[in-house]
Symmetry: C2
Subunit: 412 residues, 2 copies
C-alpha cells in the first residue's frame, strides 16, 4: 500500500524550543515502517534540498536522536526561503534522484504554502509521493489547528520572563515595557497574561496588533495603572502600532521571506512614558531570540505534542495521505485533552490566524478568561498542575512604622 | 554586650536573583537575638530611610518571609541614591528617632561607600550603632570578597542563555552577538564561557572591557571563527569598546548614581559584521534586565551564600562588629569550599575589582582554565554536580548522502 522509497524532512523558518521533537517523532515512527528505506534530513531547509545536502538520519545513533528531543532549535538547520517555480522544479529533480517518496516540511504558513506547491507539482508529474506539512511556529498563527507546536514553550518563556521582570520593576517602582515577538499577531504577547494571578501582578497592560489603541488611550491607561500599582509592566507585541500611526521599527531591513524585520516598539513606548512624564525613568527589554530557544522554559504539553505531530505526519503519509498538514484538535480545556488531526494544506497555506478580538478586553489592554482557558494548558512545565507552575511568590504585608519626624525636605 | 534596640535593613542598587535571600538570612538570624527588638525594612533603600518609610519585618508571617528567599529582586524595594552630607545627617536622625542600633545595607560599591560614611557619622556622633554592609552585585566588582552574591545566578542565566541562543544561531548559520551587563567590568560576560565544553560550542568569542582589541583584530577573529564553525556566537560586555575608540551606547542618559546608561555595543558589532561582509545577515540580543531577575536560573551556591552573608551580617553586628562588609572567602575550587569573613568597608567602598587580565586568553577573545575553575562552582543549579548542569546536547554526526545531480544554479 505505502510507497517504497526514501523519506526526507526539512525544518523551515524561525526555530522553536520543540521543533526537534517533531523531527525525532518522525524519525522514530519511520523506523517501524518497512517501506521507508532511508530517512534524509535536508540541511538548512529548502537550501539543502536544492543543493542535495542530505544527511542520513537512520544512521545516527538512536540515543543521540532521542536526546535531540530536548534540544531547542533546528538540529539540521533551517532557512527562510520562499521557492519560486524553478526551485520547486529542482526539488522534484532531487526527489527523483534520491528516490524520495515522502516529504515532511516543518514550518509556519509560508512553509505550508511551499509544501502545498511541492505536493501539487508531484501530483502533476510522473513522481508519486506523499507530502505532509508539520506545523511549527511561536507566532501561533496557523489556521485550523487549535495551536502550533512551539507556541506553548515560547509562551511559557514569555509568561515567566514577565513575572521575573515584574519583580525588578516593582523593586524600583518604574514602568517597564517588554517587547514580545509575533509579527502581525499578538498570540505570544497575550501569553504574557498567563502568569498573572492578581490585579497587581504583571503585566498590567498588554497591547496586540489585533486591537489597536490610540496614543492618548495608551497614555491614559499607563498613567492610571502606574498610579494604582506604583510600578507598571507593559507587554507589547513587536507588530503593535498606535491606531492611525505607523509601525515602529528600528530597522529598514527585510528577511528572506520579504518581511520587515520588526523591533523597536518597546523602547519607543518606554521613551514615550518618560517624555510624557508618566515616570521620570522607564525601561524596556526585548525578549529577543531567546523566546524561541530558551530550553529551560519547555512546556511539557508542547514538547509531547511536537513529538506527536511529527510521528503522526509519518504514520499518515505511510497510509497514503498527502497534501495535508497535521493539526492539533482540542477536545477539552480542563482537563486538557487534544487529538491529532489533519487539514488540507491549502486551508492553512499563506493564511494568518489572529487572536480573536473577543479574547481581548474592551479597553484593548488585557486578556479575557476565555483566552486564559485557552493558554493555561499550553504553558505548563514538566511536573506541574496545568498552567500553575509559572513563577509566583507571596508579597510582604508591609506593616508600616509610625513616622516620628518632620517630613524630609531634601537640601537643594 | 550587644546594643539593645531596633535593626534596619535596606536594599540598594540593581536587584539580583538572590538579594532577598540575604534579607531573609538577616531577619531569621535576628529573631534569635534578644537585643534586636524590632527589625525594620527601609522601603526603596535610602529613600525610605530618609522619609521614615519603614516596615516591621518581624511582624510578617515567617512563612512568607521564608518564601521570599526564592523570589528574585528586592522585596522591600531598591533605589540608586548617592547620599550627600545632609542626607547622611538625616539618616542619623531617623536612626535615633526609631531607636535603630543596627543598620544593614545590601548593595555594591557605591552602597558600601554610603555604608561606611554612615558608620563614620555614627562613630563621631552620640549614637552608638553597628553598621554592616552586605555584598550584592551581578557585576561582581567588589574588592576583597572572592565573589559577590547575585553574580552566580546572573552568570548561570548568561551561560545558559548563550548555549540556547547558540542553537538558534547554529540553525541559521548566522553570526549572533549577545550583549551582557557588567558596566566597566567583564565578569558577567566572562561567565558566558562557563557553558562551553567543546571548541564548537558557543560562545566562540568573548570581549571584555579588561582587555580591549582593535576593530581590525575583532573582524579577523570573527571571520576566522565563522569560517571554522559555520556559525558564530560572540558575547560582549556592555562596557566594551574597540581599542582607541569610544564606547558605544544607545543613550546619553545617566542613572541616579551618575553613571551612563550603557547598551548598544552588541547591535553595533552585529551591524559591523554585516557591513564588513563577515555575513550578509547577523543578529544581536541584549540579555537585558532579565539577567538580574530570571529566577529559573538561580544558582544553588549563590542562593545559599546570599542567605549566609545576610545571616552573618546580623551575627557579627550582634557581636559588636561595625564598619565592615561581609565577604566570601574561597578555600577550595573543587570541592568548592568557602567561608564567610569580613573586611573593613573602606577596603571595598567605591573601588572596582576587574577581571584579572591573566584569566583572559592572549588574543583577548576567550577565557582561561583559571577562570573556569573560578566560575564553575558559582553557576550550578540546585541538583547538580558542580558546574555541570548547564545546557548541553549531543550533535548529529551528519552522514552525508552522495550527490547525484549537477550543482544547483539558481535562476536569476
Amino acid at each position: 500500500m505505502a510507497l517504497k522509497g526514501n523519506a526526507c524532512i526539512a525544518q523551515s523558518g524561525g526555530p522553536t524550543i520543540v521543533i526537534n521533537a517533531s523531527m525525532v517523532g518522525a524519525i522514530e515512527a519511520a523506523r517501524d515502517i518497512p517501506e521507508i528505506e532511508g530517512f534524509y534530513g535536508a540541511l538548512n531547509g529548502l537550501k539543502g534540498l536544492l543543493n542535495e545536502e542530505l544527511t542520513e538520519l537512520f544512521r545516527e545513533d538512536p540515543a543521540v536522536v532521542s536526546a535531540l528531543k530536548l534540544c531547542p532549535s533546528a538540529a539540521i538547520g533551517t532557512a527562510r526561503l520562499k521557492p519560486k517555480k524553478p526551485e520547486l522544479l529542482r526539488t522534484m529533480e532531487v526527489f527523483k534522484a534520491h528516490n524520495i517518496r515522502y516529504f515532511f516540511y516543518n514550518g509556519g504558513n509560508d512553509t505550508q504554502l511551499a509544501c502545498h506547491l511541492i505536493s501539487e507539482l508531484a501530483k502533476t508529474s510522473d513522481w508519486e509521493m506523499q507530502v505532509v506539512g508539520i506545523p511549527k511556529t511561536i507566532d501561533n498563527d496557523l489556521e485550523v489547528t487549535d495551536h502550533c507546536p512551539g507556541y506553548g514553550s515560547a509562551s511559557r518563556y514569555a509568561a515567566a520572563a514577565v513575572q521575573f521582570a515584574g519583580k525588578d520593576s516593582e523593586a524600583f517602582g518604574n514602568p517597564h515595557v517588554i517587547e514580545i515577538m509575533g509579527r502581525n499577531v499578538g498570540w505570544l504577547t497575550a501569553a504574557a497574561w498567563a502568569g498573572k494571578r492578581h490585579e497587581i501582578d504583571p503585566p498590567h497592560l498588554v497591547y496586540l496588533p489585533e486591537k489597536l489603541v490610540t496614543r492618548a488611550q495608551f497614555l491614559e491607561d499607563a498613567h492610571a495603572a502606574f498610579k494604582k500599582h506604583k510600578f507598571l509592566v507593559i507587554a507589547v507585541s513587536e507588530g503593535f502600532a498606535f491606531e492611525g500611526e505607523d509601525k515602529a521599527t528600528t530597522s529598514d531591513k527585510v528577511d528572506s521571506f520579504g518581511h520587515a524585520r520588526l523591533g523597536g516598539v518597546g523602547s519607543a513606548l518606554s521613551d514615550l512614558l518618560e517624555e510624557e512624564k508618566v515616570s521620570s525613568r522607564s525601561r524596556s527589554d526585548k525578549l529577543g531570540n531567546l523566546q524561541r530557544c530558551f530550553g529551560w522554559a519547555t512546556s511539557k504539553v508542547d514538547l509531547d505534542e511536537a513529538y506527536e505531530v511529527g510521528r503522526q505526519a509519518v504514520l499518515k503519509a505511510a497510509r497514503g495521505e498527502t497534501d495535508i498538514m497535521i493539526t492539533i484538535d482540542r477536545k477539552s480545556d480542563e482537563p486538557y485533552v487534544a487529538e491529532i488531526g489533519d487539514t488540507a494544506l491549502m486551508s492553512v497555506a499563506d493564511k494568518e490566524k489572529r487572536v480573536p478580538v473577543e479574547w481581548i478586553n474592551e479597553a484593548g489592554n488585557g486578556m479575557t478568561e476565555d483566552f486564559m482557558r485557552y493558554i493555561r494548558p499550553l504553558v505548563s512545565g514538566a511536573a506541574a498542575t496545568v498552567g500553575d507552575d509559572l513563577p509566583q511568590w507571596p508579597r510582604l504585608t508591609k506593616f508600616m512604622v509610625d513616622k516620628k519626624l518632620a517630613p524630609y525636605a531634601p537640601v537643594k
